[in-house]
Symmetry: C2
Subunit: 362 residues, 2 copies
């Protein structure tokens, strides 16, 4: 039996109801049902409805299931960019989206600021020719975020035809987007939704679909089985093109029921409250300090701290109390820690973590 | 509690040990561990070692994890075909690989025989210019197979540089391939491995990797995160590029331990024995008859029968006894049934199924 509480930034602590839903899934033999059955269509529909409710997603958006958020980067470029994309880059994941566009033969431009910094929207010049604007609402590697009201300002800054893409991989459902101000938002289930990894969710509006159809009609390839028109056709029948991760779609539908019972307002309020406690501690610590200087640019869901103690030492101490935080990303592996503040993490658990971190101070 | 036994051709009955492995996975919190942790690397290595043992896979092959066998079709074309591929087509899945090549802008040629028929290797002309030869060892839609010794003959028929790809999605580990006679074999875990869906396994030799590197070196795109060189680099570190379906890789490692304990010889012998019983029954039935005429071309793992009773009626009868077979594929939905004969299906279960099917005769 493993009793550790995982504050790692994803995979992370499972949502508390997941073990029970998994047991039910095994008893109901969800792993054996056909992905073309009515039973699967109902599970699929339940997951989509649950997500629409939780995120207050308007009707002009479609919910598409792919294998990972990493896959979304590739599909976004294939389906929505003829020639040129523009990327805000301030960490490893935003950089990777930029590189994906290049690997797929597109001209990619970036507005880059140092790792751990946020962006000042007024300083960003968006090229008129950029067809897709890649924003990173929450950079999981550095803990920097773009506040939602800043995200909403890009619509008027960009060319009218440009598509605004928002990476909310490790923050959704926390950020309350105005979906009329963006065109696509995507996330992974192993972050704030507290599920096992192996499913990416891609939200697209009708403008993304129309762009893919236009590129295809011009005779260009937009991929194969996961081109947007194919994804959409199956989604509208509550199915997927390939045999998907059925078990995860089932678990997502169940966790969404739980989250909707709790209400998105409560989830957001609790996230704010736990984040405030974590940052207050980090500000007062002799070992740790918030890695993102500007308080407005500090993520509420993936909280990164500089650490004068190697991250491996911090985790060695925490392991004795069945807790673990994330190490820093890449070259910050030992000099930073990352603390996930997801809906799965209770206030009691956060207080316990901060108490044990504080013991290192003495 | 669902006590149904699923003879559907995938997703299908889970391997009998899966519920217990899943319970252990939840207790060990496998869904929460980092995909960059030593613990994950050990799980990954265990799955690969288990597969190498079971399949007697030589060292010049790499084991790569992707999201589905459907994804393999796309990656194979992107990474291994500059211009032209050649496909043996005799059902819906082999057709789909052929169409994938076209969607990705390649010249695809096919040797097509009617649905439900096998191939006569001596009649097949392979174009000299074909870079990838797509064979379908087992066509899940129609129940037709290519015997392994016929598969092995393609190496000398094809141009020396051509890569022989084998779809064994719904048959592996049953077919005993000589891996020196082919270049790539792929499968899905929700068929004969008895796992929940959401993981594809792509076996490639060094010739596939070299071809991808050559195309990339020429300045052509071979995809992004799942291009062969990137998949390979991570695989050699017992990791994946993206956050993968960790839980399924864990379950695969455990089921492979169980299968290796049982031995591949026993699994193959039991598969033969159960298949013989099923075909013997179908030959004697007044309602059902084997859909594939030539006995040499009949699959041992996905057995398809023509049915004078609508498939939905057959399943209505079986449902009362907690059993289900697959309906026919596509336009054969009601006029055929498909019976999965996977390692998860015990001889006792097969006998019970045949007994209940026989009751329909009276």
């Amino acid at each position: 039996m493993n009793n550790k509480v995982y504050f790692t930034p994803g995979p992370s602590e499972l949502y508390p109801t997941v073990p029970q839903h998994m047991q039910e899934a095994m008893q109901q033999k969800i792993g054996s049902i056909s992905h073309r059955s009515k039973q699967f269509q109902e599970i699929y529909a339940s997951a989509v409805t649950g997500l629409r409710t939780l995120l207050q997603l308007p009707d002009n958006y479609e919910v598409l299931f792919v294998a990972s958020a990493t896959e979304v980067w590739e599909r976004a470029i294939q389906n929505n960019v003829r020639k040129e994309s523009f990327h805000l880059v301030n960490g490893s994941f935003s950089k990777r989206f930029y590189e994906t566009a290049q690997e797929l033969g597109r001209k990619a431009q970036q507005h880059e600021v140092p790792f751990g910094q946020g962006f000042h929207v007024e300083n960003i010049e968006i090229p008129e020719s950029a067809e897709l604007i890649a924003l990173i609402q929450n950079e999981t590697s550095s803990g920097a975020c773009i506040p939602v009201e800043q995200i909403h300002r890009f619509k008027e800054k960009a060319a009218p035809d440009a598509l605004i893409y928002v990476d909310a991989v490790s923050s959704l459902p926390y950020p309350a987007f105005d979906f009329s101000k963006v065109d696509s938002v995507y996330f992974s289930v192993q972050k704030c939704f507290g599920l096992p990894a192996g499913l990416g969710v891609w939200l697209v509006n009708e403008r993304c679909v129309a762009k893919a159809e236009a590129i295809l009609a011009e005779g260009h390839s937009i991929g194969s089985y996961h081109m947007l028109p194919s994804l959409l056709e199956k989604a509208q029948a509550n199915q997927t093109v390939e045999t998907p991760n059925v078990l995860n779609i089932y678990l997502l539908s169940k966790v969404l029921e739980d989250m909707n019972s709790k209400s998105i307002e409560t989830i957001r309020r609790e996230t704010d409250s736990k984040a405030a406690q974590i940052y207050t501690y980090l500000e007062s610590s002799n070992i740790f300090s918030p890695a993102v200087e500007n308080p407005d640019h500090r993520s509420k869901t993936t909280i990164v701290a500089n650490s004068t103690m190697p991250a491996s030492e911090v985790n060695k101490h925490l392991a004795a109390f069945d807790m673990q935080v994330g190490s820093g990303y890449g070259k910050y592996k030992e000099s930073q820690i990352r603390i996930a503040n997801f809906p799965a993490h209770s206030e009691v658990q956060v207080v316990q973590l901060l108490t044990k971190l504080a013991e290192l101070e003495s």
